[in-house]
């Protein structure tokens, strides 16, 4: 097998006129699929819209790295009663390049539901998924955050708070090799210790003869006689060929791995029509509750996320995580203006940010838009908001139990800050209106949900698009329900299983 390569599309064009498999997107799904298909000896080309970046060039500024690494510079949003930012990576490695590398296998209860309600047992059998997950864990070097090395003070405080509350938790299990605790997971790990697909599965695929083309945006899939035969797009990177259009044929199949929003919209632009395409869009919206401690927290050391308390996941539908967001973002959440704000900023080293991630029951909708490119409509339900405010109250209690001297509520209409545990009941009066909260959406699911019945789903149990031969979707857009856990590992596992079947 001849060696493949990483290619900058806008500089070098496409490496081939025809591949066996064309994979659209280089994140968790695209990386896992490329790894398996290239290892089978097939000619694989991965097309990634974003750039391939050397993390050492990204620097320490959150804003500068966000502008280069995130879709729409991190300024993408879902619209509804509230406007909610959506964070998605747009670079080689996709969101695996900019997330906290958190590992969770797909919960057995969720998989059982997928089998029972959606008929996915043949396509995604439990044993095959387990084997795929184990292989990924081995290849991506999964291990828990290490106390004294990669655990931050915020992590240890959350552990203290969750233990006081009797909520089960653990130091987070992550894909990393040689993490130095630089606190910059969201910037793109400066030491390439995070095992994103950019440094793992894509490199393996290239070693097996595959090509990864950065700066190549796919606009639509060409179909002939009910079969997907090629992709059309343009070079989106910097360079002399910027804007130039391309067509790349696929002899065997096209595998779409653009994520819940982009995969749905690529199918839509390609003429795929289903009553369920772009629907059942789900997420884990989250917000932070900040605690100010008497001792320094220095929430810029350690892994960006190091501890999680998941004991309420199956009851309240929330998971708590420590989250060391960059200081400039934390700073903006501190209250006030002028001298009062300046004084608050001196307290930044004493802030611990803990997030409540909500397994929301809300379902939204995704569509291409002339104005926005991608349009997402999403509104939390009343039940979601009730659980969100209960989760925030619990986090405030845990902060005080862990020794916080003050808690910043971050909710419109509530007191700016609380000084004692006796005051946390204010969260019971928090608005049942998403406009009261500063939410961020991550972990996006649905839009191309899988199922046996073409009348109620977009892809079949093998993840092939119903009614279109040679067109597959292998990312979180096929998830038929919200999983309640960080999705990267589940995406890699299902893509691994589906790609192995496709490779024969």
């Amino acid at each position: 097998m001849s060696a493949g390569a990483f290619v900058e599309g806008a500089v070098s064009g496409l490496p081939l006129e025809e591949a066996d498999f064309v994979i659209v997107g280089s994140g968790a799904g695209g990386g896992a699929a490329a790894r398996v298909l290239a290892a089978s000896g097939a000619r694989v080309v991965v097309l990634e819209e974003g750039p391939r970046l050397d993390p050492k060039t990204l620097g320490v500024s959150e804003g500068a790295s966000r502008n280069r690494l995130f879709r729409n510079q991190g300024k993408q949003a879902a619209f509804g009663r509230a406007t909610t930012p959506i964070l998605q990576g747009r670079c080689v490695g996709g969101t695996t390049f900019v997330n906290s590398a958190i590992v969770w296998r797909l919960p057995a209860k969720i998989l059982e539901r997928w089998h029972d309600e959606f008929g996915l047992a043949d396509g995604l059998p439990a044993r095959a998924l387990d084997e795929a997950a184990a292989r990924v864990e081995e290849e991506l070097s999964v291990r828990p955050v290490v106390e004294g090395v990669t655990a931050s003070q915020s992590d240890l405080l959350l552990r203290k708070g969750s233990q006081a509350a009797g909520i089960e938790g653990r130091l987070i299990h992550r894909y990393e090799k040689g993490c130095r605790g630089s606190g910059r997971c969201f910037h793109g790990c400066p030491h390439e210790a995070k095992q994103s697909t950019a440094v793992t599965s894509l490199r393996r695929a290239v070693g097996d003869g595959g090509f990864v083309v950065a700066g190549a945006r796919v606009e639509r899939v060409e179909r002939r006689g009910g079969r997907a035969v090629a992709v059309h797009g343009f070079f989106s990177g910097d360079g002399p060929e910027h804007g130039q259009r391309f067509r790349l044929a696929a002899k065997k199949a096209i595998v779409v791995c653009g994520g819940a929003i982009q995969s749905s919209n690529l199918l839509w632009r390609s003429g795929v029509r289903s009553a369920h395409l772009g629907r059942h869009f789900m997420a884990h919206p989250g917000t932070a509750v900040m605690g100010l401690y008497p001792e320094r927290v220095d929430a810029w050391t350690g892994a960006s996320q190091g501890y999680e308390a998941f004991g309420l996941r199956d009851t309240l539908g929330v998971k708590f995580e420590s989250i060391n967001v960059p200081p400039e973002v934390t700073g903006a959440r501190l209250p006030g203006a002028g001298a009062r704000f300046a004084a608050r900023l001196t307290e930044l080293p004493y802030v611990a940010n803990w997030a409540v991630a909500l397994k929301a029951e809300a379902e939204g909708r995704v569509r291409p838009s002339l104005l926005f490119g991608d349009y997402v409509r999403y509104d939390l339900t009343r039940g979601d908001l009730e659980r969100l405010r209960q989760g925030m109250r619990k986090l405030a209690e845990m902060h005080f139990d862990a020794g916080a001297r003050e808690v910043i509520t971050g909710v419109a209409g509530l007191p700016e800050s609380l000084r004692s545990r006796d005051e946390v009941s204010v969260f019971d009066d928090a608005p049942l209106d998403p406009r009261g909260y500063n939410l961020v959406m991550t972990h996006l699911f649905g839009g191309c949900r899988a199922g046996r019945d073409a009348a109620t789903s977009v892809v079949d149990p093998t993840l092939k698009v119903h009614g279109v031969d040679g067109l597959y979707v292998m990312d979180a857009s096929v998830f038929p329900t919200n999983t309640g856990v960080n999705p990267q590992h589940s995406i890699m596992s299902i893509a691994g299983v589906a790609a192995a079947r496709l490779a024969g």
Binding site: E62, A64, A337
Partner: protein
């Protein structure tokens, strides 16, 4: 979307009311916030750039529509400027509140998010860095 020169000046004035000179031991004092705000606006998607611009106008004219005074933001004293910002950030109307928060987030990203300031904060174990370039990027 390109900001006009007067909009750059507005960004500088409003931003400095939000985070006054001397804050964090003067770590951000040498930064030309107006220029940075304009740069961020220029490279942003159109709808985000519109939000940058709208939050500027909303704030600049806030003394008029929020307090009923025939003044712009630049025409009121420092204490009133701070009061305007505080009221914007707590405003009962969602989009007004969000405009205030959007501006605050932008200012924090632009002022706090460069290496000398982060070093001053003690973040990322950065060694103190002299600010070599005082304006723009």
């Amino acid at each position: 979307m390109t900001l006009t020169d007067f909009e750059r000046d507005w960004a500088q004035t409003i931003g400095r009311a939000l985070l006054p000179a001397g804050a964090l031991d003067g770590a951000t004092d040498g930064i030309d916030l107006g220029a940075r705000y304009a740069e961020e606006c220029a490279i942003s998607p159109w709808y985000a750039a519109l939000a940058f611009r709208a939050s500027l106008w909303l704030t600049w004219l806030a003394p008029l529509w929020m307090m009923g005074r025939l003044r712009t933001f630049g025409g009121v004293d420092g204490a009133t400027q701070v009061e305007v910002l505080e009221r914007l950030l707590k405003h009962r109307v969602y989009f007004v509140r969000m405009a205030g928060l959007f501006f605050k987030l932008a200012v924090c990203t632009l002022l706090l998010g460069d290496e000398p300031t982060l070093a001053q904060l003690g973040a990322y174990k950065l060694a103190p860095v002299a600010r070599l370039k005082k304006t723009g990027s």
